[in-house]
């Protein structure tokens, strides 16, 4: 039986048609996935369902009855629950307090904490969502915080649970646990909608999937009879190569970039990079594989001169650059794609043109003498916008208005167009959808084809394998193993990443 149905939902924003004639049904007790690229209109649709947006036209049918929500409050009252990508929890309050917030039991101004605690405890036991009701949110891991969010919805008697990109912030382990929880919930009669852009997850958890593209439903599939490739094609609207084709390319023998016995401290003054040495040759991609927090970001910052090295040397084309400032290193044609693009890569309120100019804003075509040359800056930006296929209203749009993938393309355009000799790429595709990943991978390989030395730091093994000529496994600040992609597999790399020791004589 259909518990929830949307009929011809249209949501028109001032310049964007976010949802165009959306018809979907949610059966009672199923797990439904809503798959689509960033900006396909998934979140808009869910916000319409949850009463945050009012649809321009169309109706929502709940339990066979037409409903109209004017706020999330209405939606909650009718049994809808939503777990947002960014949690809505008060850090300093306890789990119980957060869960009851807004619908506290008890009479008048007095809150009946004892009952509340009891209810929360019962609830978490019934659904297998173990969490200490008295713990403070700030002391919980992200995975546990998510459980609290789910409990919050269940406490309000949600029959339908909407999860917006629930795995974006979780570790692989936590993803497994979350999926177990979701299955338990389904088995006890809760209907679930998951918004995601990750194909693997859809295959792993869903019963049925709707694919959204540019605000329209592109297709509906039973999970049992659809392949990952078909889903990807529907989502992007063309054939997608899931692993980019890598032409063989002979690297030049003389290394362009060398790190010798580098030691770097992290913010807590603990050694994060511990006597690390590596080389990168022109025309090869060296992949640094490792679990997050094993010194990768400190290594990257030390290479860019954003963090001092306590000892060791960094050589570019044979010259020591360790004593140079960041600006001088950039002038020596090192390019850097930082891991956190919004914090380190872009000045969000600045325009696309300004973001492309930054760093090289002191030279032509971006300035003449001390005065900025906006015309030159915009002309250059326009060229890069078309050659890197950046979807933006124009060079004068603020970077903040672009989607994640296009923001990353702005950074790529800036860094790659500066003809680097050495390119440091840190987590280039984090949070991006298939189409953007494919594009960025092909651009990285293009740089390799132009005999640039590329150092790729990534937490995604798939990415490391797709791009690297050599894989260096980093563990606790050291390179513990060098492997060749052709002669190894993800299992072996994973073994060394988690501190596995070589069984040597």
């Amino acid at each position: 039986m259909a518990i929830l149905e949307t009929r011809h939902i249209v949501k028109q924003f001032p310049k964007v048609l976010a949802n165009d004639d959306i018809n979907l049904t949610l059966q009672e007790g199923e797990i439904l996935c809503l798959l689509g690229e960033n900006g396909a209109g998934k979140s808009t649709l869910m916000n319409v369902l949850y009463g945050l947006y009012k649809p321009t036209s169309g109706t929502i049918v709940l339990d066979g009855e037409e409903v109209e929500f004017s706020s999330p409050r209405d939606a909650i009252d009718r049994g809808l629950g939503m777990v947002h990508q960014h949690f809505m929890l008060v850090d300093t309050l306890t789990v119980t307090e957060n869960i009851i917030l807004g619908s506290e039991p008890g009479s008048g101004p007095v809150i009946d904490y004892k009952t509340a605690r009891q209810q929360v405890k019962e609830l978490s036991e019934r659904y297998g969502l173990q969490v200490d009701p008295d713990a403070r949110i700030m002391n919980l891991s992200v995975g546990l915080q998510q459980r609290v969010e789910i409990l919050k919805a269940l406490y309000r008697k949600a029959k339908i649970l909407i999860l917006d990109e629930p795995t974006a912030v979780l570790t692989p382990q936590e993803v497994e646990e979350l999926f177990a929880v979701i299955r338990t919930l389904r088995d006890s009669g809760v209907s679930i909608i998951i918004i995601t852009h990750k194909l693997e997850e859809v295959k792993a958890i869903a019963n049925r999937v709707y694919i959204l593209r540019r605000g329209r439903i592109e297709g509906e599939r039973e999970i049992a009879d659809v392949t990952k490739e078909e889903l990807a094609n529907l989502m992007v609207g063309r054939s997608v190569v899931l692993t980019v084709h890598r032409e063989p390319h002979e690297a030049k023998p003389e290394p362009v970039f060398t790190v010798e016995n580098l030691r770097v401290l992290d913010d807590r003054e603990v050694e994060a990079v511990d006597d690390l040495s590596l080389t990168v040759k022109p025309g090869e991609v060296v992949g640094i594989a490792g679990v997050d927090g094993n010194g990768q970001s400190e290594l990257a910052e030390a290479i860019m001169g954003l963090r001092p090295a306590t000892s060791g040397r960094i050589l570019l084309r044979g010259n020591d650059i360790e004593h140079l400032t960041t600006r001088e290193r950039i002038n020596q044609r090192i390019s850097h794609v930082p891991a956190d693009r919004q914090r380190f890569g872009l000045v969000l309120p600045f325009t696309v043109a300004e973001n492309i100019a930054i760093g090289y804003h002191d030279r032509a075509p971006n300035s003449r003498g001390l005065v900025l040359d906006y015309a030159g800056m915009e002309k250059q930006a326009e060229e890069l916008i078309s050659s890197y296929d950046i979807r933006t209203p124009g060079p004068l749009a603020p970077a903040a208005h672009l989607s994640g993938g296009n923001q990353q393309k702005v950074i790529l355009a800036r860094e790659f167009s500066r003809n680097p000799d050495f390119l440091l790429v840190n987590q280039p595709t984090r949070g991006l959808d298939v189409g953007a990943i494919e594009y960025i991978h092909s651009q990285i390989l293009r740089m390799r084809g132009q005999d640039v030395g590329v150092m790729l730091i990534s937490l995604e093994l798939e990415e490391i394998f797709a791009l690297s000529d050599r894989i260096l496994v980093m563990y606790e600040g050291q390179i513990v193993k060098e492997l060749t992609p052709a002669e190894t597999d993800e299992r072996e790399v994973g073994f060394y990443m988690t501190g596995g020791k070589e069984r040597s004589a």
């Binding site: 009012k54 400032t325 100019a357 760093g359 300035s367």
Partner: protein, 426 residues
């Protein structure tokens, strides 16, 4: 469009705007005096020329976009002002004053009768507000503009007492000296900020008090003598060659006190606007202000730009002191009392940190002050009402979310109406 045309139009605009501003700002409103309106018409004409040039260069669509953008940026302040005036009126009605008569007096006094006082009030406010606004762009809060203002006043006085060169050489030297002193006053906060992370709000505010209480010492050393009743708390008068020209020197009827400091303030505002938005230094300062991590990752030195921003901010605030001493008072009083440093914060906030906007909000603030005095003198309405109105304006403008909430409520209402109409037709 043809480049020479563009340049020619630009020149016409500048000339019209400059002459208009001089006539308007220097005008004294009295019977038979027409400079005031001539000035306004010329400024309007200059704006018209600008729009024509813009249309010729970029086309009509861009013009509409520009108009829409500028309307959107003034709608919040204007709404704030209107609502604040209404609330002030209600307040007056409740406390037994006639709001209509009072507001008549306020605007007549501020815009017409005592226009010259409005202009005199505005000049130092524009300087201090520029100082605060400039620091804002680097993500810094120069709350101690008052201190740099005192330093500038002392520096200007000292130099002007002894520098006996011809005015055309001497005045620029005094100007630079005052600015340098203000900048130097911010070296310590800048250094502490960069090296230790000490917050500039604390350090500049503390130094503001130091500067404030340095001034009596300075005055004693330069003519102030509490033993006589003639010069108890004031320095000697500065040399005549160091006084800024007054409008009355080239405009008949102009009030003798109105001096060219206001023109200097406007020019400096334009220079600061250019510095911020057209130069590499401004680009770096804004980048650091918006996202210092990204700026640093692109090789922009955060420390260097914090230094630059705080030093330039100090110089700007000091120019307010120069303006008062060399333009208006011609000597340094122990109690400058006007609190231009503190009020500059309000003026800068009201302008949203925009250097050109500061000129207008500075004039508005000065007008409210001058009009408020006139109002309380002629209608016996307490001038505290004006302070309340100013407070509400600032509150409404700074608390932009109020506006957002109202516009959302309006949208919802409209949506409901249209759906109701649609339902009625069905």
């Amino acid at each position: 469009m043809n480049r020479t045309y563009s340049t020619a139009l630009n020149a016409v605009m500048v000339v019209l705007g400059a002459i208009g501003s001089i006539l308007w700002l220097g005008a004294t409103f009295r019977s038979g005096e027409t400079y005031y309106f001539w000035g306004i018409w010329l400024i309007v004409a200059a704006a018209g020329v600008y729009l024509v040039r813009y249309t010729l260069e970029n086309g009509r669509d861009e013009l509409l976009a520009l108009v829409r953008k500028s309307l959107r940026s003034v709608v919040v302040p204007v709404m704030g002002i209107v609502v604040a005036i209404l609330i002030g009126g209600v307040l007056m009605a409740i406390t037994g004053y006639d709001p209509i008569a009072a507001y008549q007096a306020l605007f007549y006094g501020g815009l017409v009768r005592n226009w010259h006082i409005s202009v005199l009030n505005a000049a130092p406010l524009i300087f201090t507000a520029l100082s605060v606004a400039f620091a804002f762009k680097a993500g810094l809060f120069n709350i101690g503009a008052e201190g740099q203002y005192y330093l500038g006043a002392m520096g200007a006085t000292w130099a002007s007492l002894y520098l006996g060169l011809p005015g055309i050489i001497s005045i620029p030297l005094v100007f630079i000296f005052a600015a340098l002193l203000g900048a130097a006053w911010n070296v310590v906060p800048a250094f502490l900020k960069v090296k230790t992370g000490a917050h500039e709000v604390i350090t500049t505010m503390m130094l503001a008090h130091v500067a404030r209480y340095l001034s009596p010492v300075f005055i004693r050393a330069n003519g102030g003598d509490p033993a006589t009743s003639l010069h108890p708390y004031v320095t000697f008068e500065i040399l005549e060659n160091n006084m800024l020209p007054s409008f009355s020197q080239f405009m008949e009827h102009a009030n003798y006190r109105v001096h060219t400091g206001i023109l200097l303030a406007i020019i400096v505002a334009l220079v600061i606007n250019f510095l911020l938005y057209k130069t590499r230094i401004g680009f770096e300062i804004r980048a650091v202000g918006e996202n210092k991590d990204a700026a640093r990752a692109q090789g922009i030195s955060v420390g260097k730009n914090i230094f630059r921003a705080l030093l330039i901010a100090g110089a700007l605030a000091a120019l307010a002191g120069f303006n008062q001493v060399n333009g208006l008072d011609h000597k340094l009083f122990e109690n400058l009392q006007a609190g231009y440093g503190w009020n500059g914060i309000s003026v800068a906030l009201l302008a949203g940190g925009n250097p050109v906007g500061v000129v207008f909000t500075g004039l508005l603030w000065g007008m409210l002050d001058a009009g408020g005095q006139f109002m309380s003198r002629t209608t016996q309405t307490p001038s505290a009402i004006v302070e309340i109105v100013k407070g509400i304006i600032l509150f409404l403008v700074v608390a932009r979310y109020i506006y957002t909430a109202i516009s959302q409520w309006w949208k919802r209402r409209k949506q409901k109406q249209t759906t109701a109409v649609a339902a009625g037709q069905a």
